[in-house]
């Protein structure tokens, strides 16, 4: 339950004690602070601020939406170690999302949804919880339900291989904030990819049933593979202006890494029809799969009920 700022209230809120005065008694910070406090957010010459913001939303939304999906495994994974692993991976991605959405808001405040005057909701939260589906710019690969553990490992392998290749190149971004987020992210996502790769191998060479489930999982994930490498005009501009990466240039590298895992696992690369664009648009253009609305509803409902909430 959030503490609601209501200056007109004529009764005392029982939560006043939580936010006023000395909060050193609380284990965790009771107020938000800018995750980029003190970071130089000046925009490099020749960089279009609105393109930079749009690009940060894309990479931030990939991390945010996938983080939400992976967090749904919490308390449901096959064993405690993997429960903790998936929660940790979700947390790393949530941290990356927070920095990227904060970077988007700092670059172009116009992307942040308007909230009532005096709302204490920070800009990165406004972006996460108060944007509608069409405003999200994530690739569609991160949206589907988790399915079983094998489906999840197949998707995590594809996603983390793609994101690692992307972040490795983004370290050379001429936007110092993006370069810093990428440098940190590479260290984290390298662990995610190896975790997924090991489970992929284990399931593929485990029992007949684990292999059957893994192959079914890969087939479920694969139709959204090509979209990862489809260049949206914002990504083209990002690459042109030196702050981002053209994803079409990642396809070979990602393919080679996946081929290593597939070969070691004795699994053929799927030949499966790809999910096409809808009216020319994919996830990067705000066109999402059917499950996206339910995912956002669950993720956003509490925050939206309390636009004046302080968490």
């Amino acid at each position: 339950m959030p503490h609601v700022h209501d200056h007109d209230a004529d009764h005392e809120s029982v939560y006043d004690g939580l936010t006023g005065g000395d909060d050193s008694q609380w284990a965790f910070g009771t107020d938000f602070e800018d995750p980029l406090a003190g970071v130089d957010t000046t925009i490099a010459q020749g960089v279009d601020a609105s393109a930079l913001a749009a690009y940060c939303l894309m990479l931030g939304d990939d991390a945010l939406v996938y983080s939400h999906r992976l967090a749904q495994w919490t308390s449901n994974a096959p064993d405690l170690e993997d429960d903790i692993a998936l929660a940790n991976i979700a947390l790393d991605l949530l941290g990356q999302a927070r920095l990227l959405l904060a970077r988007a808001a700092a670059a172009d405040p116009a992307v942040v949804p308007a909230l009532p005057d005096g709302s204490p909701v920070p800009p990165e939260d406004a972006l996460a919880f108060f944007r509608d589906e069409a405003g999200f710019r994530n690739v569609r690969l991160v949206e589907p339900d988790n399915g079983d553990f094998a489906v999840t490992m197949a998707r995590l392998l594809v996603f983390s291989t793609y994101r690692l290749a992307l972040l490795e190149r983004l370290r050379d971004s001429n936007d110092p904030v993006l370069a810093a987020i990428a440098t940190k992210g590479v260290k984290e996502v390298a662990y995610h990819r190896d975790y997924a790769g090991r489970w992929f191998l284990t399931l593929a060479r485990g029992t007949e049933e684990s292999r059957r489930r893994l192959l079914a999982g890969l087939a479920l994930v694969w139709p959204l593979y090509d979209e990862l490498f489809r260049t949206h005009h914002v990504e083209a501009a990002a690459a042109d202006q030196g702050f981002g990466v053209d994803p079409s240039g990642l396809a070979d590298e990602v393919g080679v890494v996946l081929e290593q895992v597939l070969t070691t696992s004795g699994v053929e690369r799927p030949e499966i029809a790809q999910t096409g664009a809808v009216n020319g648009q994919t996830g990067r253009g705000g066109r999402h799969t059917e499950v996206m609305g339910r995912l956002l509803a669950e993720m956003q409902v509490v925050a939206r009920a309390h636009p004046m909430g302080l968490w």
Partner: protein
């Protein structure tokens, strides 16, 4: 506090540094922020004391607590105008944990990280369990098994000693 210009200012800064040096990590309180390597600097101008910290992992939920702890500890010592800044570059590395910090970890049953891998080019895929030269922080046995690369906090992996059978945490190399 007095904020006169001149030598007194430097004395204040030295005092502030000593206060800051005692603030510990909220998740691993046997380590100071300095020992952990997240404390990147203490400086001040005529009005404000600025403390710079860097996150260990992007999603580290302890950052807000570290900020609060720094502000409160400094306020207790008379520093009222404190700004805590975040630095993202260079990215934190487990190599920054001090020798004293490594000893403190071991003394508390946590295995300290080995040298961090260098990630300048593409990170090579590793499908085998990561090999680390570890000994059990309780009994010293080198017979240890990795249970999971992920643990109770973002920065730790879980191990089990096959000698004394106790589980233990290992701070990961990044």
């Amino acid at each position: 506090m007095s904020l006169d210009v001149g030598p007194a200012v430097d004395l204040d800064l030295e005092r502030a540094r000593r206060v800051v040096a005692e603030v510990t990590d909220p998740e691993m309180p046997m380590l100071t922020l300095a020992d952990l390597g997240v404390l990147r600097g203490v400086a001040h101008d005529a009005e404000t004391l600025t403390v710079t910290i860097t996150p260990t992992y992007s999603g580290c939920p302890a950052m807000a607590t570290m900020r609060d702890d720094l502000v409160h500890r400094l306020a207790d010592h008379g520093f009222d105008r404190v700004e805590v800044r975040v630095s993202l570059t260079p990215a934190w590395s487990s190599d920054w944990i001090s020798e004293r910090g490594r000893r403190a970890l071991r003394d508390h049953g946590i295995s300290a990280p080995g040298p961090a891998p260098r990630h300048d080019g593409p990170v090579p895929l590793n499908l085998m369990p990561r090999r680390r030269e570890l000994t059990c922080p309780r009994c010293g046995s080198a017979d240890v098994q990795l249970s999971s690369e992920f643990g109770a906090t973002a920065c730790k992996a879980m191990y089990r000693c096959t000698g004394c059978l106790e589980p233990f945490d290992h701070v990961k190399e990044i």
